[in-house]
């Protein structure tokens, strides 16, 4: 499958909050801001359904998010539920919403991604994020999410002879891009020296290799082909979607330096869209850590295996290149509001295609997003295309 679908599905509206640490705001407040902006982007329509994405609202003792957000936003009575796939929740929710519209069950569906973690102390959030790893075989050793990615990073560096400085180019580029994104959490420029001198989180991962802890919400309105154009002059086609799973643990992986689920989910989205990596003008990839960005450059098909860091340090993937990677600043600079990140990525690429992204603009017809849950264990890819 991943080849045929019943009805074409378009993004007709987007809305997002700034990414940051909003101690004075609540989860429902952030989610509702994004949702209402997205509804107003289309002209205050009423969706028939809503799919919410979130990972860790249990830490603030709130589940059952769909009813909470719908009711607070004036949508009591619509259909809805939450989807969870760790940090990949946003991409998974988009797949679910896509299916609702494509199947004909509903004509208009909202996707709302939200995360609100800043109330909780960092060790507790660090533990919560590690719930995405294997609770029986990884957590008892005290390994954190940063630690698991650090194991992958060192393995990759030693297998391909990649230098630490080459990987440090990733966060420098992300901050260069995110500096111009008004929604971004960390809007400052950094140098390779800053990265290499920043505190060690989980060796060899340093602070500036890591995304920040973020609050934020983003929303999309999806609509079926027959009504998309009536709602919006510039609908953006969801040309392909794909999802794939790998092991939750990193030890039984077939290859430690490859995200199998990244490759498979991208292949599924490419097949469905009849497009390939060479067609992609702009991509938003999931760089929770620098090493994730480098690995997915390779697994999505933008660089040969083992060459991602090298091509990046030689100057590829910057504005003006094809593809441009993470003009938003990526998770590193825009931030990583965990369950909302996959929805932010699609909002950003939709804006790039429409031409109204408020940061670095990339002339484009085709964009790709990839959203990762766990250490590459649950990955969703979305391919977006200018509406015909």
């Amino acid at each position: 499958m991943w080849e045929t679908f019943l009805r074409k599905v378009y993004v007709v509206g987007i809305g997002l909050t700034n990414v940051g640490r909003f101690y004075e705001r609540s989860l429902r407040d952030l989610a509702s801001e994004a949702l209402i902006k997205a509804l107003d982007d289309v002209g205050n329509i009423t969706p028939e359904g809503m799919v919410v994405s979130n990972m860790l609202s249990s830490l603030i003792e709130q589940e059952n998010l769909a009813s909470l957000i719908a009711d607070y936003s004036g949508l009591r009575g619509i259909s809805g539920f939450k989807v969870e796939a760790a940090c990949g929740s946003g991409g998974a929710a988009i797949l679910a919403a896509y299916s609702l519209v494509s199947s004909g069950l509903m004509d208009i569906v909202a996707v709302v991604g939200v995360e609100k973690l800043s109330e909780r102390p960092t060790p507790e959030v660090t533990r919560g994020l590690a719930y995405a790893a294997d609770a029986d075989y990884e957590i008892p050793y005290g390994v954190t999410f940063s630690g698991l990615n650090a194991l992958v990073m060192r393995y990759y560096m030693s297998k391909y002879g990649v230098k630490r400085e080459e990987i440090a180019v990733w966060p420098v580029l992300m901050h260069e891009n995110g500096y111009k994104n008004p929604y971004a959490q960390l809007r400052m420029r950094i140098t390779i020296d800053d990265v290499l001198k920043s505190p060690v989180i989980a060796d060899p991962i340093r602070l500036y290799d890591s995304c920040p802890l973020s609050d934020g919400a983003a929303a999309l309105i999806l609509a079926s082909e027959d009504i998309a154009r009536k709602l919006n002059d510039t609908p953006v086609l969801i040309a392909g979607v794909g999802n794939a799973l790998d092991s939750t643990d990193i030890t039984s992986r077939f290859e430690l330096d490859t995200f199998l689920a990244s490759r498979l989910s991208a292949e599924r989205a490419y097949r469905m869209s009849k497009l390939g990596p060479k067609d992609v003008d702009v991509a938003e990839l999931h760089d929770a850590y620098s090493i994730n960005g480098i690995l997915t450059l390779e697994d999505v098909g933008f660089a040969p295996k083992g060459q991602g860091a090298k091509l990046l340090s030689e100057g590829r993937f910057r504005p003006g290149d094809k593809p441009v990677i993470n003009p938003s600043g990526g998770l590193k600079s825009r931030g990583h509001p965990v369950g909302a990140t996959g929805v932010y990525q699609v909002c950003e690429v939709v804006m790039q295609i429409r031409g109204d992204f408020p940061g670095i603009k990339v002339p484009c017809d085709v964009g790709l997003t990839q959203n990762i849950g766990g250490v590459g264990s649950n990955i969703s890819t979305v391919i977006l295309k200018r509406g015909d």
Partner: protein, 120 residues
Amino acid sequence: MKDALLGLIGTRCLDCGFTAYPPKKSCPKCRSRNTKTVELGRVGKVVSYTVINVPMSGFEKMTPITIALVDVGGCIILTQLTGVRPEEVYVGMEVEATIRRSAETIDGYIPYIIKFKPVQ
């Protein structure tokens, strides 16, 4: 299933030979259910490692924590290293299994788990 933390248990596929740790009900490589439980080697080589400076809650007193991926006869396991300074660890280092305590759980238990130490 949690006994595997003390016994160092994996599963070997009797059809394709793939050994999985943690143990799996079916072979991840060929989907065969014809698997058997095997005790993994207790001596191996470090293939990657990290030193965790920012711990999750519950592990503050153990920090810094040295975590390694150890290849025990073609199967990789994740473990904590003990009896070695973080700066002395290297890829290729020979290590062997031993029993040590882990961090106290939220309900007050002190679990004992396998950690690895340098081969003397």
